[in-house]
């Protein structure tokens, strides 16, 4: 299977190609530069694999949560390519990609994945190592304050993501002894989006380009003014 993935929901920008079990990736932490970087990165991974678009089976993208504009860049890129090349799309959670990296690296059962959501909140998701080693979501992803995050009582795991950099104290206090290692410097990357995407695609999960849409989690983005007389 050949699957191309992009992840641009945070400060990091990346593209990756999953090809016959091998993963080729381009990754760069470059805030505000995703619009310049992402297409050349895609070209680079395809070139390195010696593949043409026509040889791909599917696309995957980090559907969020994350920076609204960032998530929309990945969404738009994938919609455009999928429409042009007639490819199915697999939406992959940005928090899941973050969690997968930690699971691959550390021998723990749980991951507390967390991305800074600004405005005093974080995007939060608890993931568990599944039978095949892939991250499985426990409960639901949410946007909330660090002092309110939910987690299974009997879990023990690793904390990862930019939310940890900012709210390490609050989160550590809340999770207590459930917490093992903490990675404060990790961003979601397309290599993991590709891996999760390939697995989901194998299970028959994909959507047409117009249904490849962001998951923002935060939806109260504007206040209606009080109607005046």
């Amino acid at each position: 299977m050949n699957l191309l993935a992009v992840e641009t929901a945070t400060e990091a920008c990346s593209a990756a190609l999953f090809s016959g079990g091998r993963i080729i990736e381009r990754y760069q932490v470059a805030p505000q530069e995703h619009n310049r970087l992402i297409l050349p990165m895609i070209e680079a991974v395809l070139a390195e694999a010696g593949l043409q678009l026509a040889q791909l089976d599917a696309l995957a993208f980090g559907r969020g949560p994350g920076s609204f504009t960032g998530v929309r860049i990945a969404t738009g890129v994938v919609q455009g390519i999928a429409f042009g090349a007639e490819l199915p799309v697999v939406p992959v959670s940005t928090l899941a990609a973050l969690a997968q990296e930690a699971l691959d690296e550390i021998d723990e059962e749980y991951v507390y994945a967390c991305i800074d959501a600004r405005m005093g909140e974080i995007y939060w998701g608890v993931y568990r190592r599944g039978e095949t080693g892939l991250a499985e979501l426990i409960g639901e992803e949410a946007v909330l304050s660090a002092s309110e995050v939910p987690f299974p009582q009997d879990s023990h795991g690793v904390g990862t993501g930019s939310g940890w950099a900012r709210y390490e104290a609050q989160l550590t206090e809340r999770l207590g002894e459930r917490l093992g290692t903490i990675f404060t410097d990790r961003f979601p990357r397309a290599a993991l989006t590709a891996r999760l995407g390939a697995e989901a695609f194998r299970e028959g999960i994909s959507v047409p380009p117009e249904q490849a849409l962001p998951v923002y989690l935060r939806d109260d983005v504007a206040k209606k003014p009080v109607p005046r007389r």
Binding site: P40, E43, L53, I73, G76, V78, G80, I81, E210, K224
Partner: protein, 337 residues
Amino acid sequence: MYVLGIETSCDETGVAIFHSQQGLLSHHLYSQVKTHADYGGVVPELASRDHVKKLIPLISRALSAAGIDKYRVDGIAYTAGPGLIGALLAGAAVARSLAWALGIPSVAVHHMEGHLLAPLLEPDPPEFPFIALLVSGGHTQLVEVEAIGRYKILGESLDDAAGEAFDKTAKMLGLGYPGGPEIGRLADEGLAGRFVFPRPMTDRPGLNFSFSGLKTHTLTTLAATSSTRQDKADIAAAFQEAVVDTLLIKSQRALEETGLVRLVVAGGVSANRRMRKKLHEMGREKGYRIYFPRLEFCGDNGAMIAYAGCQRLLAGHAEPLEIRARPRWPLSDLLPP
């Protein structure tokens, strides 16, 4: 050459297919007016979210309405600015990536160049050079247009744009959003001459505008009445007359000063019926030819972007593999293709 045009700079998702010889083949517009009406103005984040949902279905529709397959498209034109950064990026990401996937060139179009060239989509288009009066939600400019990409700004608004003035005044009168069309309708019921508003900056030389003072004028005038529907209609008529006259006086001045004889009017406010009538009359009287886009191409649309982009693509325009979005982008920075 078949060109797909994509516009997402603000609150309309516009898509069109233009052919360099056959002309406009199809155009579709999804307006978010209803989404933003409750907020009394455009909410940028909601605008971006809507573009992402609407764009691909609109592209499909525009292609089938034009009777072509996507593989027939020779180039993609998309609005890269000026506009709302999130909204621009939403369209640009799809447009640039689609062009890359199809292996065809793309062109980042200046939104105001799109507006300015919109009258060239009409059957009897103006020849260059001409004066363009750009009147929209964010711009009020008089431009000397020598050719495509040769723009000299002769004057512009020092504060509110004409469309913005319409919108703000409408709000004061308790009308809905967007205010321009609402004021136009209400003004039809108004008594001409009951109130007379100033024609800002027309008593001194120069081609700049200032519309923000009219707001205060509206407020004080309204406060002195009992705010009946008739009072408001009379105020709407006075306000509209003042804006239209001001635009007319300065446009005429620009024509006189440059010796040009053609005036192109474009942008959302160019849909204003009173303005179309008065400018046509002025043209007949003074021997100028006045050009407007058809009503549906006064506001934002994909057709004008497809047209403007096509002119640049025909000249061999090619750009790097980069999704371009430039929220602030002076028209005078443009170069000929």
